[in-house]
Symmetry: C2
Subunit: 302 residues, 2 copies
Amino acid sequence: MKNLSLKQLRYFEVLARTGHFGQAAEICAVTQPALSVQIKALEASAGAALFERTTREVRLTGFGVEFAERVREILRSVDELSDLARKAQEGLSGRLRLGVIPTIAPYLLPRFLTRLNGAFPDLDVQVRESITPRLIAELGEGGLDLALVALPVSERSLEEYPVFEEPMVLVRPEAEADAPVPDVTTLHMRRLLLLEEGHCFRDQALAFCNIPGGGPRDGLEGTSLSTLVQMVGAGMGITLIPEMAVPVETRSAPVSVARFRGPQPMRQVGMVWRKTSPLAERFRAIADLLAPDTSEPSVDAQ
Amino acid sequence: MKNLSLKQLRYFEVLARTGHFGQAAEICAVTQPALSVQIKALEASAGAALFERTTREVRLTGFGVEFAERVREILRSVDELSDLARKAQEGLSGRLRLGVIPTIAPYLLPRFLTRLNGAFPDLDVQVRESITPRLIAELGEGGLDLALVALPVSERSLEEYPVFEEPMVLVRPEAEADAPVPDVTTLHMRRLLLLEEGHCFRDQALAFCNIPGGGPRDGLEGTSLSTLVQMVGAGMGITLIPEMAVPVETRSAPVSVARFRGPQPMRQVGMVWRKTSPLAERFRAIADLLAPDTSEPSVDAQ
DNA sequence: TGGATTGATAAATCTTTCTTATGAAAAATC
DNA sequence: GATTTTTCATAAGAAAGATTTATCAATCCA
């Protein structure tokens, strides 16, 4: 059964259907001898006759009948493979493993996934939420295709694709709502609540406030932005959160939100993927779906 | 997706498994460029990249993963096809549609089918019982592969394969058991009970007794040998039956069985199949399984 | 029996696939 | 940081395989 070819199976299937070498050859767009030779080769490699030939008619042998059933099944599978390929050419399809950092996921994913599903209905999106270093590692190992993070990640093997910039805003207890917005450089004077180590948002905030990073800050850490805001509401201090988190997180806590005056602390939101990925173009199209809604309510500077 | 070949799918599967062009090429017993070219051709016809290449590693894309699953399924089916072929080469396999005439079926089939199943366990035997003309027609139309009949059938397109000869024996009421066995030529003087028209055994009996065939013989016909013997037991006349029917049919009726003296009326039992059938050799092997048991009890001439 | 139909076979041509030789990029090593 | 190694891609000639044209042999039909 060596040197079996799909072409032979195709010829065989048509001949089994038509029962006529001439007609089958025409359907296959080859000459009759070409088909005869291939059928003969197929029978040789199968080790048994598939057809019983008369000048009058060409009929499947008992073995041929059984053979034909399986061949049809194989050809069907192969055609499905072609369908799959054709589909993949136009719309994106298949599995997409997407990593997202925790300070983006809850606020951007709902809208993003809706859009993604609208644009690529055949895409099977699998989301994993983790901190940037883990996502980068998984990208490198091939466990992820794409990650939605804050840029830059500065990883040589990864391509960075910025999508939009976003300000960090100040969250204070509601009682301080009318107090003047402090300068960012003075924040280290206050009890500044931040996320635990590993979150890039923590590092960005520290950098912005000119506070050296490193060790833990006992009593000043929360496991999520939501927790931080609740802590602020309880009067434990102040914090920074990304603007996109404002509508969701500040709704149920007695806090006041304000933009800083002067130079805004910003973070760059974007996507990263392996430079070698052949799907880079598709990934850019996907990333563009992240572009913020212009109708989105934003926090005014006070 | 044109010009897709099984070879490409095989190469692809190995490369997907090894993740290394060099190793994959070695497994496929070709050089690395050959494999590279085929993979590239496969990707071109699929219209999308299947692998993500680094000097470090070769990894399936998301699309490639989906593609690989289906390819593996296809290759599995193809291998099964090979198994089927290999099996068919040695033992006979597949479906065998066998026709048998009613004056043979009940007596020979039990033992024959047992032997057949022993010799070719993978053979799916489908038996149809009918009179010779119908069997011949079905053979011609491809509805049957093989028929077990009385020879000759004298059909140009069929090959006849005699297996054994068998005498016809006389069945009389038990009361006549001690009477001398009449000469066959005198049988037309008696009420000779025979099968209905169409049965070859009827014609053979008539020919042997020098009685012209043709029209129906009211009141002298039975639908089966079993019926005929019961009729004889009821004193309605005498009949002829093939020797193989004796043990089964004469057990429960008050009849006496006797061989004729002098030249025995005989029938030739054998098989027929289309001369064009590529399975002729197999059919001969099958027919040989019909050879009578030498330990078989036979009816002594009186 | 002679023409028509149908499948098999043979030789030449064309296409595809393979091998050998070589190049280029990234990683590992010194 | 230059060099060696590893690994995949590419190119050209060689080998293998498939296709076409031409022809034959067998069967059917009139």
